[in-house]
């Protein structure tokens, strides 16, 4: 991490299709009614990338991230066309990271090789749980054995490997979770993402909870699981670098880390979001979510102007979730031209003093970060810190 990835540009590629929709998911994903036309999708991505290149001009490219949906459903040829188009459009850094999210139920050994050959150099496997019953309850289409098999293959095929887990599932005890995490770590690569099951509006899960069919864990149990997870992952050499992301030092997901540090990223594919700093100003970009409309020839994304202050606030929201926190110097470099020399200028001074006094936040020369205790209360802390007007120092 000596090189700052923040100066580069990053590309997010959204693949909207899934084989089945999971009960907890509220992402822009769809189960297609009939087979898609791989050639058309390849061409549409190429066109979207060309259009994005037209807006960004020449930029250094730090990473490409295939998210979804289930991008491992896409033909490796489609992935290959996207990677090639990206390499043509921008100036790839030597250590360009290309991540793809894979569902264990959708890939075999040959498929993984084909993805590697298409340019993917980091695989993120949606393992979600190592408990067969809970995995089924989550609505996943794969088995624990399939997950283990795919992870074994992936270790041989990819240098960089991550997988996702969902914890704090209904009925989960801290003891059961510790055992499950220990088993999962036997299959772990350099990086693991561990999310807590979150009830999102409009999902089948939220309806089950509202109807009393499912009871989510209480605050104390969730807290215990959260604390245990951080401790176990640190002991396993993969400390948290973000609220729900754990990695060996230097093996962080460069794509996400860069975005959380405030870097620009472009989004291609239906429903893809982006943040662009252009000559005309800063923008939030958003593609319409309908895959069928998008594949016919991608309509341009909506560009919403963002003030420097809004952009800085967004950045701080994400940065406070990082273990390193909101760093003063990179912030100054990015926002000084817009009159913001330090992250603390956007923070409510009373709330900051209070949080520091309570030992929840550390504030020093190099920036502002949540303490181990503070991370546990980050939603409230962030809301309090970022509430109010700017106070230039």
């Amino acid at each position: 991490m000596t090189q700052s990835p923040e100066t580069a540009f990053h590309l997010y590629v959204h693949w909207p299709y899934c084989r089945a929709k999971c009960g907890y998911c509220d992402f822009a994903s769809f189960v297609p009614k009939r087979a898609w036309d791989a050639a058309a999708w390849g061409a549409a991505y190429e066109a979207d990338i060309a259009a994005l290149r037209g807006r960004t001009g020449s930029r250094e490219l730090g990473s490409v991230f295939f998210g979804g949906g289930t991008p491992s459903l896409a033909e490796p040829a489609v992935i290959g066309r996207v990677v090639e188009a990206a390499l043509r459009a921008w100036e790839p850094r030597a250590d360009l990271e290309v991540t793809l999210e894979a569902n264990p139920g959708t890939v075999d050994k040959a498929g993984l090789r084909a993805l590697r050959d298409a340019g993917v150099n980091r695989l993120s496997v949606g393992a979600q749980s190592f408990d067969p019953e809970d995995l089924a309850r989550l609505g996943r289409i794969h088995s624990v054995d399939e997950t283990k098999r795919v992870l074994d293959w992936a270790h041989h095929i990819f240098d960089r490997l991550s997988f996702d887990l969902i914890t704090a599932r209904p009925g989960l005890t801290p003891a059961a979770w510790r055992a499950e995490l220990a088993e999962a770590l036997e299959f772990a690569g350099e990086h693991v993402s561990i999310y807590q099951l979150t009830v999102e509006d409009g999902t089948p899960l939220s309806r089950d909870v509202a109807a009393g069919r499912v009871t989510m864990l209480d605050e104390d149990t969730e807290a215990e699981i959260f604390e245990d997870t951080r401790q176990i992952m640190a002991e396993a050499g993969r400390p948290a670098y973000e609220v729900s992301n754990f990695a060996r030092p230097g093996a962080e997901c460069r794509h996400n880390l860069a975005i959380w540090r405030g870097a620009d990223y472009g989004g291609v594919g239906p429903a893809a979001h982006g943040r662009l700093t252009l000559e005309e100003g800063r923008f939030a970009t958003r593609h319409a979510p309908d895959p069928a409309a998008w594949v016919k020839g991608p309509p341009p994304p909506r560009l919403e102007p963002l003030s420097a202050e809004e952009r800085a606030r967004e950045h701080l929201m994400m940065a406070l979730r990082l273990t390193e926190g909101a760093r003063a110097e990179p912030f100054r470099l990015r926002f000084a031209a817009d009159g913001m020399a330090d992250p603390r200028e956007l923070m409510n001074p009373d709330a900051l003093a209070e949080a520091v006094g309570l030992g929840l936040i550390e504030s020093g020369e190099d920036g502002v970060r949540a303490t181990e205790q503070g991370v546990m209360l980050l939603n409230t802390l962030t809301a309090r810190l970022l509430d109010g007007e700017r106070t230039p120092r």
């Binding site: 975005i259 929201m317 209360l377 409230t380």
Partner: protein, 615 residues
């Protein structure tokens, strides 16, 4: 009958110069005992309205009045009745408010009449409210004619109820008129009884004008309409009148009577009732009980019995949405146009923002005002717990009237506090008597009387008004399964051991929740509120104490433990917008928070805490 009815209707317009042909009467009845039905029947029989115009219970014109079966504003109806003696009488029916909150208004309405019909349900018997009003009528020297209603029902026990009237009220009920207002049975007997048993009014025609102001209301087309009973002299269109309480003078535009339709007449003479319109803009200038006289030739002394109305119960009203404050101010202004007995002044609360401290004649009056604000003006309101008016004697000799617990002076500056006490009459079936006595004792009551009427007990208690505004009526209803009837009148002020209990959240007093209580109850009520708040206030970054205190002395304490985990460990990936939405949601929530020192308390917690107070 139509032809005759039309003729009688004509007669109603004619001035009645012969006082012996006038009868003024009120109807006294408990809710649901048939007052309105009887009134309707009398109007119909005398041809005041034809069938098509006849709406059920024409007298109660406000929605709330009709729904609750209560009367808030007094009204009169002038009827022309040709009696069996062949003479035509002018009968003036006075519909009076029937609730304790409006006791003074009731007394003025009764003062405008010479007699009353006491209507009692022949199966239910006498109720507490009837009792209070019948005593008012006796004080007004009324000739009272008992009327037993609903005698057609199988459950009717006229003899028992007659005996009860004699026993409880001390009124000869041997000649009670037996009727069924619903079927019309006995209505002619009621009319004959009015003519023959009630005295005619007295009054001098050729002396300076003295007219009793019975009530007034605001009509958006006509301005203020005043209901009057002329005692002496003549009220004539075109004359200049003067209100004796404030010496304001007005040109009289219109004089008239209700038949019950509004009908203009040339003049109103002694003994007559009717209305006047004189370009008055607000009812606040028309005080119930005031004397109206001739501005050019004023009476030397006003009629007896006038007193300005004084609120006895206070509470604060705050808009749930602080953006509605101006609308609340306007709405209160509009309500006050029609209800001078209701008072309000701006108030600021750290917990609830900007609002108004309001004074009412009683609990029902308070409910009516709040309901009208919410219903007619579409406002969402937060109401603080009702409080009574305390008299605080300061050590420096000063006497302060305390309308709001927030204004309580420091204990060291107080030499004595007096609180209002009431005389409460409760009628209750025997089997619930024990619970009722227990409730009264819990509420610091002092028993004055306990008598039996058949299988019902009548108890008279002295009780602090403070204890009554604190959910007494609801408790009484629930322990007697709805069978107890209850009425009270404010009796006097008595010194008491009263304290102001403050509620502190993290050491900061929450103004809206402070209350005044008797020292013996301060701790249990304080503890109750602390326990509730503990459940209502969300956990914060640090643990916070919730305390009840008298001055600097903490009498109850609960602790809200610190928040343990509040972080969304979700996949945001590159999607900042998702995280931002979450934060915006949190900020939106924070807008509805009130800050107490370092603690954010959602307004909903205060609303819930205040609501639970009346359960």
């Amino acid at each position: 009958m139509p032809a005759l009815a039309a003729k009688q209707h004509q007669d109603a317009r004619l001035p009645m110069t012969d006082l012996s042909h006038i009868r003024n009467f009120a109807i006294i009845a408990h809710i649901d005992h048939g007052k309105s039905t009887l009134a309707d029947r009398l109007i119909q029989t005398c041809g005041g309205l034809n069938e098509r115009e006849m709406k059920e219970q024409v007298l109660d014109s406000m929605d709330i009045e009709r729904e609750r079966g209560i009367t808030i504003k007094a009204q009169t109806v002038r009827l022309a009745y040709t009696a069996k003696d062949g003479r035509t009488y002018q009968l003036n029916l006075m519909d009076t408010p029937g609730h304790v909150d409006f006791a003074y208004e009731v007394s003025r309405s009764l003062a405008a009449c010479e007699g009353s019909l006491l209507v009692v349900d022949a199966s239910q018997g006498v109720e507490a409210q009837t009792l209070a009003n019948v005593y008012h009528a006796m004080e007004a020297n009324h000739e009272i004619v008992p009327v037993l209603n609903k005698i057609d029902l199988p459950a009717a026990e006229p003899e028992r109820v007659q005996a009860q009237i004699e026993e409880v009220i001390g009124l000869d009920a041997a000649d009670a008129v037996m009727i069924s207002a619903k079927t019309g049975l006995g209505i002619p007997d009621v009319l004959e009884a009015l003519v023959h048993r009630l005295p005619a009014p007295t009054g001098e025609r050729d002396t300076p004008l003295k007219a009793l102001l019975v009530d007034s209301w605001y009509d958006s087309y006509l301005g203020v309409v005043i209901l009057v009973r002329v005692k002496d002299g003549v009220l004539k269109k075109g004359m200049r009148i003067r209100m004796m309480a404030n010496n304001a003078a007005y040109q009289l535009d219109k004089v008239g009577a209700f038949t019950p339709k509004m009908v203009e007449v040339e003049s109103l003479g002694p003994g007559e009732m009717g209305f006047l319109i004189a370009g008055i803009k607000t009812v606040a200038d028309c005080k119930v009980g005031d004397t109206i006289t001739d501005d050019r030739l004023p009476a030397t002394a006003p009629l007896p019995g006038f007193k300005p109305s004084v609120p006895v119960v206070f509470s604060s009203l705050f808009p749930v949405d602080s953006g509605d404050f101006e609308q609340l101010r306007e709405s209160l202004g509009k309500l006050r146009l029609n209800d001078a007995s209701f008072q309000y002044e701006p108030e600021t609360s750290a917990a609830l923002g900007f609002g108004f401290r309001c004074g009412y004649l009683g609990l029902l009056h308070m409910e009516i005002i709040q309901e009208r604000l919410e219903r007619e003006f579409d406002l969402d309101l937060i109401t603080t717990a009702p409080s009574v008016v305390y008299r605080v004697h300061m050590t420096n000799g000063e006497l302060r009237e305390l309308h709001n617990p927030v204004d309580m002076p420091e204990p060291t500056q107080i030499s004595e506090i007096e609180e209002p006490w009431v005389k409460a009459t409760i009628l209750v079936p025997d089997e619930y008597l024990g619970s009722v006595l227990q409730l009264c004792t819990e509420r610091r009551g002092i028993q004055e009387e306990l008598t039996y009427v058949g299988n019902r007990a009548m108890v008279v208690y002295r009780l602090p008004l403070n204890e009554i505004v604190f959910d007494f009526y609801d408790r009484l209803k629930s322990i007697s399964r709805g069978y107890a009837s209850f009425d009270y009148e404010v009796a006097d002020y008595t010194a008491s051991d009263l304290v102001r209990v403050s509620i502190l959240v993290n050491g900061e007093a929450v103004d809206a929740l402070s209350f005044i209580a008797h020292a013996s109850q301060a701790e249990s009520r304080g503890r109750q509120i602390c326990e509730r708040l503990k459940d209502l206030i969300p956990r914060q970054l640090f643990k916070i104490p919730v305390q009840a205190a008298i001055g600097g002395r903490v009498i109850a304490r609960e602790t809200i433990s610190a928040m343990r985990k509040d972080v969304t460990a979700k996949c945001y990936g590159g999607d900042i917008s998702r995280k931002k939405k979450l934060l915006d949601k949190q900020k939106e929530g924070k807008k509805r928070m009130r800050q107490f020192g370092k603690v954010d308390i959602p307004q909903s917690a205060f609303i819930a805490a205040l609501k639970m107070g009346d359960e």
